[in-house]
């Protein structure tokens, strides 16, 4: 690995993110925060949902923001750069094994996902207070889960971005990302699916479930959640899968 080239590429991505700061913020936060406001404030405030829902919702929204941020920041540029602008060619020609470029994309995506996730907590808290009861009892587990969720979002972005054609971007969001979010236990805990036994088993194939349940389990452990072991095992397995698929697809795209 060429450390200088790797760092220069991270610096380039950071520079571009800084330049696009406002649209990036709107893209990442507008939708989740509107959701927080409508469900956590309007629905709870008007009595349609119980007050505890505020605390239940916040970790799910954090998972949602992290996953959207990671997938957007890795997949969308890759789709455009490989197929349309070819911007990536200059970095493919840098004196560094091209797998490291894919790794750099993942690291940059993880950083953006973590930034998005950590911003949602205070923002959501401000929108919802009073009545949000976060209890960070095991900070180490929280950090571990947050890093695994960030890696899931960025490696998922790599795998999607190198597999989906430009013409199928809309389809990617409606067929992959949207179902993943709605069946990903973001707005309800996994235990809420007890009355739908088949669905409850089926959603375990959705990595988003482990992301939402993981953040719920470490931020609001007072609610029912999957065991930490299952969460870490689930996230780790999906991360390995996405990294392997993503790297293979990246090589296919990069070399004719």
């Amino acid at each position: 690995m060429n450390r200088k080239a790797f760092i220069a590429m991270l610096a380039r991505d950071a520079h571009v993110a800084r330049r696009n700061f406002v649209p990036l913020m709107l893209q990442t936060f507008l939708q989740p925060l509107m959701f927080v406001f409508v469900f956590g404030r309007v629905m709870v405030g008007s009595g349609y949902l119980p007050p505890e829902y505020k605390s239940l919702l916040l970790p799910g929204i954090m998972a949602l923001s992290m996953v959207s941020a990671g997938i957007w920041s890795v997949a969308m540029p890759l789709i455009a750069e490989f197929q349309f602008t070819h911007e990536i060619e200059d970095r493919l020609l840098a004196p560094m094994d091209i797998s490291w470029l894919a790794v750099e994309k993942v690291v940059a995506g993880m950083l953006q996902a973590l930034a998005a996730g950590l911003t949602v907590i205070p923002a959501g808290w401000l929108l919802l207070r009073p009545g949000v009861e976060l209890s960070l009892q095991t900070p180490f587990s929280f950090v571990l889960v947050a890093v695994l969720v960030a890696l899931f979002s960025a490696s998922g972005g790599l795998a999607l971005g190198c597999s989906v054609g430009q013409a199928q971007v809309g389809l990617m969001f409606s067929m992959v990302v949207a179902p993943m979010i709605f069946f990903g236990c973001t707005y309800y805990p996994w235990s809420a699916l007890t009355n739908f036994p088949i669905l409850q088993k089926a959603v375990l194939l959705n990595p988003m479930v482990y992301a939402s349940e993981g953040l719920r389990g470490t931020l609001v452990p007072q609610f029912p959640h999957l065991s930490l072991l299952a969460i870490v095992a689930g996230l780790a397995s999906f991360n390995i899968l996405f990294l392997v698929v993503g790297l293979r697809q990246f090589h296919r795209k990069a070399i004719d």
């Binding site: 020609l93 004196p95 004719d256």
Partner: protein
């Protein structure tokens, strides 16, 4: 340290559509297994061997789809050959891609600038990928922007640049890390004549510093003006190799007279063959004939007389002086422009 380029028996077969710049190549149908399943394959390179000396400006001349871009792609780690080997200096491109990449600068056929960055940043980040220090990067970027007349635009995003400006910036970027070998795929496509001359001057100057340059072109004039040696490529093979002067001299006679008649007459063509100075006569499509001769205009009255005597109407005459175009035509039966 001067660095050369070598390829041996390069073959490339695309199983799907080749990348944009690689053109069409030629189609063959492969038979797989017992069931005859026709699978379209495109042969882009068919055993191409090249030997470019260190410090030389070498040109690949050929029509679109001849395999020029694929050759550049293989030498620059972007296209994996189906078989054969390629070296930059001592480094096998596909065994030691990182070492090879360190020695090369590449200007692709299609624009691939980083649209999220300004012209100045494109150069400095490129320098950073190659490990240049911050002062070195700034210094070189400024010099190159001046040299390529882009100083006024240094701090603008390249999104709004014209095609010619993007092309100049691409070349500046490829020179940013001072590579030993510079690849230019159709460098002057889309440039106005003035910028083309500037580009030629810059390439010559770069070469004087002991750098090797490999460029592809389908422009005869460019090949003739710029290249010290040329390979003429067609259908993925090298069909002629030498200095522009040698190549032009290898066309029989040098002059080419393209004729077209009202009807076809073998007898008449045989009479042409007997005229003094005529080296070769070839019948072509639509009652035409190509005459290779060592004189041009002075043959016309004799040709016209013979045609009149044979009662064959001479409809069209075109004389061209010794050129690489004639050479290409002589080897392939096709004009570079029409293929």
């Amino acid at each position: 340290m001067m660095v050369g380029i070598r390829t041996r028996d390069l073959r490339k077969i695309y199983n799907s559509a080749p990348p944009f710049a690689a053109g069409a190549g030629s189609f063959v149908t492969a038979t797989l297994g017992r069931k005859r399943q026709p699978k379209p394959q495109i042969v882009a390179l068919d055993g191409l061997s090249l030997d470019v000396s260190p410090g030389e400006i070498f040109g690949l001349l050929g029509p679109n789809g001849a395999g020029k871009s694929t050759t550049v792609g293989i030498l620059t780690t972007r296209v994996r050959p189906s078989s054969g080997q390629a070296w930059i200096g001592e480094h096998d491109v596909w065994q030691e891609p990182v070492a090879a990449k360190r020695l090369i600068g590449v200007v692709g056929q299609r624009p691939n600038l980083d649209f999220s960055l300004t012209a100045f940043e494109i150069l400095t980040f490129h320098g950073a990928y190659f490990g240049l220090s911050a002062p070195e990067r700034t210094d070189r970027a400024r010099t190159l922007l001046d040299r390529f007349k882009l100083r006024d635009r240094a701090d603008q995003l390249v999104r709004g640049f014209s095609g010619g400006m993007m092309q100049r910036l691409s070349i500046a970027r490829a020179m940013m890390h001072d590579p030993q070998v510079l690849f230019l795929d159709e460098p002057s496509a889309g440039l106005d004549p003035q910028t083309r001359l500037l580009l030629w001057e810059i390439i010559r100057e770069y070469n004087l510093g002991g750098k090797t340059v490999l460029l592809t072109t389908h422009n005869m004039e460019e090949a003739d003006a710029l290249c010290q040696r040329l390979a003429i490529v067609d259908h993925g093979r090298s069909i002629a190799l030498g200095t522009p002067r040698e190549l032009k001299a290898s066309v029989p006679g040098g002059f080419l007279l393209r004729l077209r008649f009202g009807q076809h007459s073998d007898e008449l063509l045989q009479k042409f063959q007997a005229l003094s100075g005529v080296r070769e006569v070839r019948a072509t499509e639509n009652n035409g004939a190509d005459l290779y001769a060592d004189r041009g205009g002075s043959l016309i009255p004799e040709l016209a007389n013979l045609a009149a005597t044979a009662r064959v109407e001479l409809c069209d005459v075109h004389i061209s002086e010794p050129s690489l175009e004639n050479l290409f035509l002589h080897h392939t039966g096709r004009s570079l422009r029409e293929s």
